[in-house]
Symmetry: C2
Subunit: 348 residues, 2 copies
Amino acid sequence: MIGVRAYGDTMAGRRPTLDDVARAAGVHKATASRALNPETRNQVKFETAHRITVAARRLGYVPNTLARGLRTSRSTAVGVLVPDLTNPLFPPIVRGIQDRLDSHGYTALLVNTDNDEERERAQFAELAARRVDGFIVATARRDHPLLAEAVGRGTALVTVNRTVELPGTPAVVGDDADGVAQAVAHLRGLGHTRIAHLAGPQSVSTGAVRLRAFRQAAGRARDAVVECAAYTEQAGRAGARRLLLAHPSTTAVLAGNDLIALGALAELAAQGRSCPDDISVVGFNDMPFADRFRPPLTTVRVPHHEMGVQAAELLLELLTRPQPVARTVVLPARLVVRGSTAPPPASR
Amino acid sequence: MIGVRAYGDTMAGRRPTLDDVARAAGVHKATASRALNPETRNQVKFETAHRITVAARRLGYVPNTLARGLRTSRSTAVGVLVPDLTNPLFPPIVRGIQDRLDSHGYTALLVNTDNDEERERAQFAELAARRVDGFIVATARRDHPLLAEAVGRGTALVTVNRTVELPGTPAVVGDDADGVAQAVAHLRGLGHTRIAHLAGPQSVSTGAVRLRAFRQAAGRARDAVVECAAYTEQAGRAGARRLLLAHPSTTAVLAGNDLIALGALAELAAQGRSCPDDISVVGFNDMPFADRFRPPLTTVRVPHHEMGVQAAELLLELLTRPQPVARTVVLPARLVVRGSTAPPPASR
DNA sequence: CTGAAAGCGCTTACAG
DNA sequence: CTGAAAGCGCTTACAG
């Protein structure tokens, strides 16, 4: 290609290399390397190291992480797979990941899969080409061939928010079962007896776990359940329509997540039913600004930033510990009661 | 270090290299390189190329982008600086950037600065160490020494959403002035005469441009202005408090952005003033779910995803065109009228 | 404590 | 059309 400008070549000339620094300090580049690396700095005489450091600063030396990675077979980069960054659930998780990774000198390579298996494969291959040291996966389905292959190859991988059904794969999740139990107890406490669940997709662990927990909490009685095709407003609205058709006397809905709840709210409004006067709605996740919605959403809060932090932590362990122990970290969930829940119409 | 596992070393053995592929196909690795690179594939005999491709697939060969980058001095990676990914303004911009970058084989390295100058410098250095080919900057202040230095060094850099006062720095921005004009015209049309502006920080181009446009649109009459310390709910609430103290008869507020508007809404509620009955509020950006707020927010929509796309496009041009032309792309803004604006109390 | 050498996995003039 | 060689910028056993 012609006329291609890379970061390195500026009018000021090329970037200084380790060899430049070494020459400026009158030493061999091997010595300069040792002096500039905190872990080997003690291998060189204090005075020499100092001289090298000064030269490096004076020249504006910036080490080349790519070259180092090539030599050491470690990129200190981590691939992060999310369905879609614009889903408000993910930014806090990603920030948690970045914050922890940063403090260890690692960088996240963030990629959106849009719930598209082919796209996910392409993105995964791209990350592999960039030689990421491991993966943090927020796109896991319960049955996930791509992840199974990767784990089979010995790839370092942890899932976050969701799990994959592969024994020994570390994961960080919220305590969904407990969150669901709190939500159902809250509705029961308000007097609701006809509680329905707008379940998330059952191909995904969160959808399955929350549904199971709902069935358990609701008991045999009247556990109306409709599965939504996706964790989206649109799917939530469609699910709500089906639900209200099949079970018109429902007085409370536990939604698979906040977006589904938002969809349900929209459908209720369209049908002229009031929330919470006619029907109560509970969400899941406590997405940003859920308290500013109309009505303010009662929902189950999961500590998303902390989930990201813990996921990064698990992966870092996998990468640096001799005998890493695969474990699942479960973070507490807490019901946040706001304006979208109230006693059922009959009891008021 | 001991026990460190890199992506490459799995129980299945090390990853195949180009040399492995070449050997499997019975050719020299230079030939394999040419065959596998679309741009040089025509330099090798069709049959040979085919044989090499097959061998590569069979071995599960994944090219090493780091090694290639070291050789070519191009990482095909781009640094992206945002203040904070959890600010709802940024995910759509970042996705736009990623979407465009992806389709050109580039990857975004995303970094949060938290509006902290020192942190920004550290992150910037980290990106430089990873030899990004250029930067897309959403953190620009009007006076921004770090960016000035980088541009001075010849670094490829474009700003998005905001501009830096450095001649010749490409930028993608929304048409803020027009957006403000539309908002003020809307309020005027409703009968408001006492319109105030909760301005964003004046150290940032958007804050300055919107304020200037407000002054121009509002004319000399009663242009009450309070500058908020940041684009946050908290700063918006504090600003609203000061504003209502100094100008209690205000009937409409144009907020510097949606978060400031949200802060103003909170302060109004706390003071027992109703929006829009007592005071109208207009936001800026049309952040996700602004239509679900209480009240649904009248606001100026800026095409954030498209801003990201265009910013990536500009940077790509900078990186691949022989004689790139620095230009500023201005994207249209459009007022979206919802429930937070109404005629002033007197006129009803 | 420091240096000389090899090599990580590629690409690309240069020959043939 | 293909090969042999050099080199991108580092790190790290191995000598001394």
